[in-house]
């Protein structure tokens, strides 16, 4: 079943200098099925964050549309968009984006609080989740008191607490050491096995290897994709060869 559909997206940034235009995305289309784990790879500046932001409804496309569960973002009113985002999407960012002034527990509960959920629902959802992520002992700590890996797991908990249809992660391992990265990827794989749909931007081949589909993006276009045919297939070799093909293509041009 398709949960997210991206149709011929185009994004043009107008810079202030002499009305210059930057085409960050040009004609991107793809769809995400329920239970997929998709990785997006590409060089820096190729438009990955732009794509993710549009899928997250944080930014609007210049042309084209995004449909989540068959509903187009363009049809949702501006003031409903944030509650829609809260209930249907979860985010994990490279720099965690935790609030310094909230303890770990309140950071995780934030989306539920914003939706004015009852205390009962909050408690019911919080404890199983933090136990699963192994951060149940950090509840009263503040972000500056815990490690990077723990921060990122907090962010993952925050993204999961609303049971969203889709998790969007922008270079979630970018600021983590290799051990914490591995842990996080393991966590993502496990969540995906339990049926969570995840979409992740990454630079790391190892991270992309965990996904069951990898999209390669260059100059705002999807230029190719690699998929696993069976869940346990190792696709890192394939990814490597695509990446080297892309970089040699650039050198020759």
């Amino acid at each position: 079943m398709t949960i997210l559909e991206v149709k011929s997206l185009k994004k043009i940034y107008k810079t202030r200098f002499r009305g210059n235009q930057v085409e960050a995305l040009s004609n991107i289309s793809f769809s995400v099925d329920q239970g997929e784990f998709i990785a997006i790879m590409g060089e820096s500046g190729s438009g990955k964050t732009t794509l993710l932001n549009i899928m997250a409804s944080l930014d609007s496309p210049s042309e084209g549309s995004v449909l989540l569960n068959g509903k187009s973002y363009a049809d949702i009113r501006e003031d409903e968009l944030s509650s829609f985002r809260r209930d249907n999407l979860g985010f994990v960012f490279q720099d965690f984006n935790l609030l310094d002034n909230l303890n770990i527990k309140d950071n995780i509960l934030l989306p539920l609080v914003l939706s004015n959920c009852s205390r009962k629902v909050m408690k019911e959802r919080l404890f199983p989740l933090v136990r699963k992520l192994g951060i149940e002992n950090l509840m009263r700590k503040f972000p500056y008191e815990v490690s990077g890996g723990q921060k990122q797991r907090t962010a993952v908990a925050r993204s999961l607490i609303t049971s969203p249809s889709l998790i969007l992660a922008d270079e979630p391992t970018g600021a983590l050491d290799s051990h914490s990265s591995e842990e996080l990827l393991k966590l993502f794989s496990e969540l995906n096995r339990e049926g969570q749909t995840i979409m992740m931007v990454t630079h790391s081949v190892q991270a992309a290897g965990c996904a069951n589909r990898v999209l390669f993006i260059k100059d705002g276009k999807i230029i190719c994709e690699v998929s696993k045919h069976s869940p346990n297939e190792d696709i890192t070799q394939k990814i490597f060869s695509v990446l080297s093909a892309i970089s040699t293509a650039r050198e020759t041009s």
Binding site: E78, D79, L110, P111, V113, Y144
Partner: protein, 640 residues
């Protein structure tokens, strides 16, 4: 690197930071211009020729000192705020390869430019405005001034010297900031992780206790002249309590709200309380300062306005009649000359006399109740008393009638040296009142003694003639008449007081005070507004990331705006609310203080405080709107 480059760099810096620098510069300019105006008045030799002009000169001297002190405090404070924000920019220069000595040179140019501009524009505005201000002052004191507010050389020099010193101080502060900071620190700027404040139950309790204590003390003050220690105690208690209120009580309250999960975990409270709690640590000191300044401004406004508008009340309290004359009985000739002049002038100004009182008597100080302290008393012969009250009382040699201003004093006998007197009657009222010791002053006794009485020999040695009456007619005529007679009395060497003369005198004094009070209020207010503006703006930059994250997590633009509005509303108005509370509680004390100056009208003081509070709230509200807009632009810029 040549000079020009530094100057250019300094200029571009100033342009780039315009929105940050402008409020600061405007304040500098206004402070300079006010300082010039007050200095030029205090150094004006012609002002001394106006009656009571010396008083105004003293008031303005005090004003210029106060302004200088306030300027040092505030300009330094504001400057440090700006500096904190600019650290990052200066750090960047460092990374780009400018050495500290180069940055120093850029800063020197910047300071030179801003100081020159503020002093020059301040002086120009001051000189131009001085004419209007002189006109306003003249109107307020109800007297023509013998000068028009032309430029005053000494005041210009004084202003330049004072502000060059002040700007030099803030420049040195900035240099020190550059000197002590390392580049990494500079780059980080203000963004260092702060811990959440700890609950401070004990301090919070102490704060509330002190507040209660201060308020109670202020109610207990009866006579401000005698109970000055108590008054000081009240002020200190409230001052300390205000700091504790913001430092400890606020955090305690927020913590309690946070612990109430049903309240805390609501969308509209969650971000607000957690944000406020986090901010309170840096906020507390600034907010208490703002609260204390607002209280001071409100009190200054209230007292000066009520003194000014209570002049009629003061005059009525101090002088019992429109005209009062008194002269030794021995100066009979002079007195009759004055009386003739009065008769003539009364007709000339088409006025009529009423409530005429004419009596002789004497003021003495003796120990009458053998307690070792002197009593003040006014002695009058029985014949005069009977005449004034149209009675026919009789007294034997050792008997007296007594009226006491202090109803608690009561005794049936009086002793005067070896003489013993018995009090025949304590009178309920007395036809005359010539004690001008004020509401808190010494209470007098009025004693009536027969001609051959034991006290009478005092009167034969020393007795005065008193002549008091009211006038009916036009105010202007009364005033002209009073002026003419006062000149005549002065020539004859006779003591003369008139309500209209006293009124004019008070207009000059209290008008001068009100004038200075207004200038001080404006300056205090501007500086209050400025510090709260800068505080919010610099917080805005710190809050930028917080609201960005909230937006990503799914807080709508509308919710963000609401949160911001409520957060600023609380930060802005909590000091104001406390200041208004202080003002309300202080009102009884203010009224008691007013009585020192013979002003005892509740209506005037209440009215003045209401007007002051209203004006204050209105301007404060305007500053709030401006701040909120700027803050929102920083924190949650709307799309496009």
């Amino acid at each position: 690197m040549n000079k020009q480059l530094y100057r250019k760099l300094a200029l571009t810096n100033l342009k780039k930071n315009a929105s940050m620098m402008l409020p600061y510069l405007i304040t500098c300019i206004i402070v300079v211009s006010f300082y010039y105006i007050v200095s030029s008045l205090s150094m004006n030799t012609q002002l001394k020729t106006v009656s009571s002009g010396n008083f105004i000169v003293d008031v303005m001297k005090f004003g210029s000192l106060l302004f200088a002190a306030l300027s040092v405090l505030f300009l330094l404070y504001t400057n440090s705020f700006i500096m904190k924000r600019r650290k990052k920019e200066l750090g960047l220069y460092h990374i780009l390869g400018l050495e500290k000595k180069h940055i120093r040179k850029v800063l020197t140019w910047e300071s030179a430019i801003t100081s020159f501009c503020s002093i020059a524009s301040g002086l120009i505005i001051g000189v131009v405005a001085n004419q209007f201000v002189t006109a306003i002052l003249s109107k307020m004191i109800g007297t023509k001034l013998p000068f028009s507010g032309a430029i005053s050389g000494p005041a210009v020099v004084k202003t330049i010297i004072t502000f060059v010193i002040i700007f030099l101080l803030s420049f040195l502060y900035n240099l020190r900031q550059i000197h002590v900071a390392n580049p990494v620190e500079l780059l980080k700027g203000g963004q260092l992780g702060e811990k959440e404040p700890k609950a401070k139950g004990l301090l919070a309790g102490l704060g509330l206790g002190l507040l209660l204590c201060g308020y109670t003390l202020s109610f207990l003050v009866n006579n401000p002249e005698k109970d000055s220690n108590m008054m000081l105690g009240a002020v200190v208690c409230v001052l300390v309590a205000t700091y504790l209120l913001f430092i400890a009580v606020s955090i305690q309250v927020l913590k309690l709200l946070q612990q109430n999960e049903h309240f805390y975990y609501k969308s509209k409270n969650f971000t607000l309380i957690s944000g406020m709690l986090y901010r309170m640590k840096q906020n507390a000191l600034g907010l208490s300062n703002i609260c204390i300044l607002s209280t001071a401004t409100l009190l200054i406004m209230t007292t000066t306005v009520s003194l000014y508008f209570g002049i009629n009340n003061t005059v009525a309290n101090e002088l019992d009649h429109d005209i009062s004359i008194n002269a030794p009985v021995a100066d009979k000739d002079k007195v009759s000359k004055l009386f003739k002049s009065i008769d003539k002038n009364i007709n000339k100004h088409s006025l009529k006399r009423k409530n005429v009182l004419k009596y002789t008597g004497g003021k003495f100080a003796e120990d009458l109740d053998a307690d070792g302290k002197f009593e003040m008393f006014f002695l009058m012969r029985l014949k005069e008393y009977n005449h004034l009250t149209r009675q026919n009382m009789s007294l034997s040699k050792d008997e007296v009638l007594i009226f006491s201003e202090d109803p608690t004093k009561h005794s049936d006998t009086l002793t005067l040296g070896k003489k013993k007197l018995s009090v025949k009657e304590y009178l309920k009222k007395f036809p005359i009142k010539n004690n001008s010791a004020g509401i808190y002053g010494q209470k007098w006794l009025y004693i009536v003694s027969p001609k051959d009485g034991l006290l009478a020999d005092k009167l034969s040695r020393e007795s005065n003639l008193y002549y008091e009456f009211d006038l009916t007619g036009k105010d202007q005529d009364k005033s002209n008449f009073s002026y003419a007679i006062s000149k005549e009395a002065e020539r004859l060497g006779i003591q003369f007081e008139s309500r209209s003369g006293y009124h004019d005198d008070l207009m000059v004094r209290f008008g001068g005070l009100l004038f200075l009070g207004m200038l001080i209020s404006i300056i205090l207010f501007m500086e209050t507004a400025l510090s709260i503006f800068y505080k919010q703006i610099s917080e805005g930059y710190d809050d930028q990331t917080r609201f960005k994250i909230l937006k990503k997590i799914g807080m709508s633009q509308k919710e963000i705006r609401n949160t911001i509005r409520r957060q600023i509303l609380i930060v802005f108005f909590s000091p104001l609310v406390i200041a208004l509370l202080h003002l309300c509680v202080a009102l009884p004390l203010v009224m008691k203080l007013m009585k020192i100056a013979f002003m005892d009208s509740w209506a005037v003081t209440l009215g003045s405080s209401a007007v002051s509070a209203t004006v204050f709230i209105l301007i404060y509200g305007a500053v709030f709107l401006l701040t909120e807009r700027t803050y929102r632009k920083i924190v949650a810029p709307s799309k496009q």
